[in-house]
Symmetry: none
Subunit: 276 residues, 2 copies
DNA sequence: GATCAGTTTGCAGGTATTTGCAGGCTTTTT
DNA sequence: AAAAAGCCTGCAAATACCTGCAAACTGATC
């Protein structure tokens, strides 16, 4: 038997901690381990930075990025510039049955075409406004002011849109914020455009509502916006409710799913509205 | 009978230990022994490297690989590039929507018990706060101030709760409103209670966050609330992040899913916190 | 003790994966 | 607009893996 010298290559990482002690870690993480760790951190803290992970695990940022990309492919987290976000946190509205969805989508398309980069846009709530939020072009850069929770959630899916939520008491009926604070805040905004989800409109009573607080919010929006756009399905045209918001003259543009030439809308054209 | 010389070939392995002693092992392992040993190591350490096992057992890496492949076929471990992981390691990944939901529900129960009729309550965002919102007793009459869209939506399901949404710029990361306006509004509230969804807490760094804007909102809440309650799963206890929110002394009550008597929490008790 | 089929093991080679890095590009921030 | 940070592509080194194959071992039988 002959004596053997063993040449051992040790794999380790060295780390200098806050007390200037040198810690050696005599192991490497397996890829899967690493990914599990990353996922764990993401779930724990909702958000991680590639740079941090790279330091913690002692691998290059490239490797972290590759891991994040892989995990994102598997839908286990959401990759963002500089790191990743946890998945479970991301809520989207479960598509409840929206009444007259197709019509509202047509309206949304028309409305979206009015918005240009850099604009300040005020919006109310309502399902038509939600469709508008969904119909926005992905690259649109604009600032949206809204009182609607659900609309805000939709806007959040757009990377280039800045969202200002108008705060105040939350109305459980209308699912928007209402009250004096909200009105005051709205009036401070110099908005280029204002989209009103419309409850009822006709030529004699103007725009009408069935909720006092919502009316007040809309009034505030109308008073501060350069250009007021009312969105409504044709079915609501020439109907009215109890509470008056404004005359039709205060509305600049009326959008329905119908052709602008439609008979039903001629009265509004005559009244000076821009019908789309 | 004539005398025989036996030529014996000894099978052994040599190993140099930490004291420079040379250990000889005068046996080889049978295949089954080896696999049992591997399984043992995997279950013990949750992970093994083929290279390590090969050195320990003194067989070629190919053999180890074959063993691992076999054991993986039997479902007794999980083969990965470079080694293997224990079974349990992978199970924990089973994607629950909310991470550590059960723990958070326990925390929510404890937290909900602190709220009494007529109180003004401030809350941040985060999944733990959502669970708190769900855990609120149906007949509770209170006023909730929140910066979180998702929390607001949950509160809306409670008929007797008044919700004040704090408005401002909406952070897409944190899904809460952030900014100077929001901070100012928060400070106007004289809240009885403040619930902080907590990202990381430890005794030396205090409460820490990974988002500057979120930190500011939390600071504002802490400054205005009578009683500050931090909610956190035990896993986040004694961890820290980049951005400091406050010292632990500024927190009145700490709620985790653990028993208040738990060892882990004793340092916080010592620091004067009320641990639940 | 010898033989023999079947299994196990190590090795040689060729292939696939993983990782870090450089260079150029894009996004974000200042 | 410049600077910084992050990202992507391609590349090379290291490592791990796979496929045969031959040597060695097992244990069963003659």
């Amino acid at each position: 038997m002959k004596c053997q010298f063993l040449l051992v290559r040790l794999r380790f990482s060295a780390d200098i901690n806050s007390n200037n002690q040198c810690l050696f870690r005599f192991f490497i993480m397996l890829k899967k381990e690493r990914q599990t760790y990353i996922l764990h951190q993401v779930n724990l803290h909702n958000r991680v930075l590639s740079a941090d992970l790279s330091q913690e695990i002692k691998v290059s940022e490239d490797t972290i990025r590759r891991d994040l990309a892989e995990l994102a492919d598997q839908g286990r987290l959401i990759k963002v510039h500089g790191g990743a976000l946890s998945q479970g946190y991301h809520l989207s509205l479960n598509a409840q049955q929206v009444y007259a969805l197709q019509e509202k989508q047509i309206i949304a398309q028309k409305a979206a075409s009015l918005i240009q980069d850099g604009m300040f846009v005020l919006t109310t709530g309502g399902t038509t406004i939600i469709e508008l939020a969904r119909a926005l072009p992905a690259n649109l850069k604009a600032t949206f002011f809204t009182v609607s929770l659900t609309a805000a959630i939709e806007y959040m899916h757009h990377p280039n849109i800045e969202i200002i939520l108008i705060g105040d008491k939350l109305s459980k009926n209308a699912q928007i914020t209402v009250g004096g604070e909200a009105q005051a805040k709205i009036k401070q905004v110099k908005a280029d455009l204002c989209f009103l989800g419309t409850n009822a409109i006709d030529t004699t009573h103007g725009l009408t509502e069935n909720d006092w607080e919502v009316m007040q919010i809309k009034k505030a929006m109308i008073s501060t916006a350069q250009h007021v756009v009312a969105l409504t399905i044709a079915e609501k045209v020439n109907t009215s409710q109890r509470i008056r918001v404004c005359d039709i003259q205060e509305i600049n543009t009326l959008i329905t799913e119908l052709s602008p030439e439609d008979q039903l809308l001629s009265a509004y054209k005559k009244a000076g509205l821009n019908v789309m």
